[in-house]
């Protein structure tokens, strides 16, 4: 992931991001990997073992308590599936305009990770969608069922790169 | 399979001719003999001392001068009163006009046009009706639709319910006096009879919903039951002071008691309570919970289709006419108003006196005004919730009607108004 400076960001904005990075690194050290820092966006790659701990720290200590999005991205070349959480902040005025991005990189053949519902209740349906669209299994999810696709969907999860829409196989 | 429809003009003409052929066959082979047999056995009616045989009837139709003296006795006959005026035809016509007025008034309030185009292309005279033909089109549509009966339905009750509703609504109009002497059943306790007939509706609605054997109708039926029962009590209580003031249970007597002042001036709270409960009784917005479409589809009407649905709607609008007329009778002085219209005369024979014409006019205008106000209320209010409805019905409206009774009694006791007139 290359760092993309847009230039418009004022320097005091980036200090806020630096502060977040410093606090996370001080707490977790090597266990998390900083992917990039952009204006208002900080991404960490977190392993699935400490994801619950990380999320709880982000919610309780940093104030990132407002789940925005859960996205899965399939990388067949690296045999990885990224599950990317975008979390905003509603209570911490300092970090309010920032979005904390943390990704869990899972093995593409066996994508299992713990659910984050105990920490962010709002991710329930996002995780269900990720489950059906990319086949990621969230341990402990109460209703891991089909959401948008028909109940009798028998093909591979459609957002994986080896699934091709009819008529558009390339 | 061809994309062209089977419906061609020649087919259409053929079907019409075929239909005419069968009608001719049936009329000439079955209907005419039956009519003659009936005429043979049944004695011709005697009106005003003249025996009306078929030849005289034809003569009357072709030469009104002969028939003119017989018009008035015809109007006074019971059959005419029940069937035409002030009976079913008048009520149905009034209901039709109400439907049209409702659609147009709501449309005007909502910055729309409402029914406008129906028949405009086909008939030159449809322009002046301003979309009234839409009602005929709707009726034809309902007549042409299949009546679907759910498989698990209790069929006899399912079929009977719309008819019972129409009959009960028609029973109401028999009791309402539209002018002095112009009432079908002028009984001494007609007010009680009105409430007795109103009692039919919740039961029929519950039966209809239960017979539908479906979830939403069942919820709607229970809601209707709660609503109608809880609102019947304030409805009766609201009328109590009228009975006290007029000291009669006869609607004609109540109207005659209002010659000096209308009861709405003496008991406005009663009029308010009666109006609100009448809206609830009619299941109209804001009290249309039994049919709340965003919650329970169409309530107890869900499984009804085609003309069965049409009959229920007809019953509703006839009931709306009846309750508006009742409001007019009880609170707005019924037919009372200045006599200003000329009498109707046919070939120098008076058919309706000036007083009768004016009375009918005032009654119709007042009733229409009350109905129009119901329509405006519908246009400006949302639906209420069942718990709010029950709370308002059981606590506030009953309390208000008791206050109302006390006011009436106080008026009586203080001698402001006397008993009867």
């Amino acid at each position: 992931m290359s760092q993309q400076g847009q230039g418009q960001a004022s320097t005091d904005q980036l200090t806020v991001e630096k502060e977040i990075v410093d606090r996370v690194i001080a707490r977790f050290g090597d266990k998390v990997k900083l992917a990039y820092v952009k204006p208002r966006r900080i991404r960490f790659n977190v392993s699935k073992d400490i994801i619950l701990e990380f999320a709880r720290y982000a919610r309780d200590e940093l104030g990132f308590d407002h789940p925005i999005s859960v996205a899965g991205v399939d990388y067949p070349k690296n045999k990885l599936i990224d599950v990317v959480y975008h979390i905003g902040s509603c209570t911490n005025d300092k970090f309010r305009s920032s979005v904390l991005v943390f990704a869990v990189q899972l093995d593409r053949d066996d994508p299992v990770m713990p659910t984050l519902i105990p920490i962010y209740r709002g991710v329930e349906y996002h995780e269900r969608e990720t489950f059906e669209m990319l086949g990621v299994i969230f341990d402990g999810h109460p209703r891991l069922e089909r959401l948008l696709l028909p109940e009798d969907w028998a093909d591979i999860p459609p957002l994986r790169k080896d699934f091709h829409t009819k008529g558009r196989e390339e | 399979m061809s994309t062209v429809s089977e419906f061609t003009f020649s087919n259409f003409v053929k079907s019409v001719l075929w239909l005419l052929f069968w009608i001719l066959i049936i009329v000439s082979l079955i209907a005419l003999p039956i009519i003659f047999i009936v005429l043979f056995y049944v004695p011709p009616p005697v009106i005003n001392g003249v025996e009306i045989n078929p030849y005289l009837l034809l003569t009357m139709l072709t030469n009104p001068q002969v028939g003119a003296p017989l018009i008035r006795p015809t109007l006074e006959s019971l059959f005419f009163r029940i069937a035409v005026f002030p009976g079913f035809t008048f009520a149905a016509l009034f209901a039709t006009v109400l439907i049209f007025a409702e659609r147009k008034t709501l449309a005007k309030m909502q910055l729309r046009v409402g029914p406008y185009h129906a028949g405009r292309e086909a008939f030159w005279w449809a322009n002046s009706l301003g979309g009234f033909l839409q009602l005929i089109a709707d009726l034809l549509k309902l007549l042409g639709k299949e009546i679907i009966v759910p498989s698990g339905a209790d069929k006899p009750i399912f079929w009977a319910a719309p008819a019972v509703l129409v009959i009960a609504a028609a029973g109401l109009i028999a009791l309402i006096p539209v002018a002095p002497g112009w009432v079908i059943a002028d009984i001494d306790v007609s007010l009680l009879a009105v409430f007795a007939l109103l009692g039919f509706f919740p039961l029929t609605v519950l039966l209809a919903s239960y017979a539908s054997n479906s979830k939403y109708p069942f919820i709607g039926g229970l809601r209707a039951l709660y609503q109608l029962i809880s609102y019947e009590i304030p409805l009766i209580l609201a009328v109590l002071p009228i009975v006290i003031l007029a000291s009669t249970l006869s609607l004609t007597g109540i109207v005659e008691a209002q010659y000096s002042y209308w009861f709405i001036l003496l008991v406005p709270i009663g009029a308010f309570v009666f109006f609100v409960t009448a809206l609830a009784e009619l299941e109209r917005i804001p009290f249309d919970l039994p049919e709340a479409e965003s919650e329970i589809v169409a309530g107890w009407l869900t499984e009804y289709s085609g003309m069965a649905y049409g009959l229920i709607q007809l019953a509703n609008y006839i009931k709306m006419y009846a309750l508006s007329a009742l409001f007019t009778t009880l609170f707005l002085g019924g037919w009372i108003g200045p006599e200003f219209l000329p009498s109707i005369e046919v070939f120098n024979v008076q058919v309706l006196s000036s007083g009768e014409v004016s009375s009918i006019f005032w009654f119709t205008i007042k009733t229409f005004g009350v109905a129009l106000f119901m329509i405006i209320v519908r246009g400006t209010n949302p639906r209420v919730k069942i718990d709010v409805l029950l709370r308002v019905g059981w606590s506030k409206l009953i309390a208000l009607s008791f206050i109302n009774v006390f006011i009436a009694v106080a008026l009586l006791y203080l001698g402001v108004v006397g008993v009867g007139h």
């Binding site: - | 005007k108 910055l111 729309r112 405006i376 246009g379 400006t380």
Partner: protein, 166 residues
């Protein structure tokens, strides 16, 4: 008492509107007026010219048969296909021109953006209803016809409310 006054105000507001002008546009008799002759695009500036996005108009003397409109449409609606036309044009050696299926077109106008030769624009004409799907397919000859759309009504605002009038 607050609820009573609220109810009365609602009734008054509703009754007041019995005197407000109707807003309805009586469509087949009245038609809306649009700005300009339809959406056009100036490839030199890279910016469009405002206008209604209705049916297309194709200028045969400018179309080169480059297929750019068809390629632009491929990922959107797949409504444009290139067909052979009878006449030969100097600038169009292959003699192919776009044919548009209005059963598929979404009227986004990105084909107009794609045309570098001022050949494909859009017009005010939106009355394209037809009895069969085949009638919705407009050949290059049909597309070359300039539509006779005449709408004159627009929204007027005065003290009695907004309404559609000439």
């Amino acid at each position: 008492m607050g609820s009573v006054s609220g109810m009365l105000r609602a009734l008054a507001s509703g009754s007041k509107h019995l005197a407000v002008k109707r807003f309805t546009l009586r469509y087949p008799e009245q038609k809306l007026k649009f700005v300009g002759d339809g959406y056009q695009f100036d490839p030199k500036e890279g910016v469009g010219i405002a206008g209604y996005r209705g049916r297309h108009i194709l200028y045969h003397d400018k179309c080169t048969g480059c297929q750019l409109c068809s390629i632009a449409c491929e990922g959107i609606a797949e409504a444009i296909s290139m067909v052979k036309v009878d006449k030969q044009y100097k600038q169009n050696k292959k003699g192919i021109m776009p044919q548009i299926d209005y059963g598929k077109c979404v009227f986004c106008g990105l084909c107009v953006d794609a045309c570098p030769f001022y050949a494909l624009f859009m017009t005010d004409d939106y009355e394209l209803a037809a009895y069969t799907k085949e009638h919705l397919i407009y050949t290059p000859d049909q597309l070359a016809v300039k539509p006779k759309y005449q709408g004159t009504y627009e929204i007027k605002i005065d003290e009695l409310g907004a309404y559609h009038d000439e």
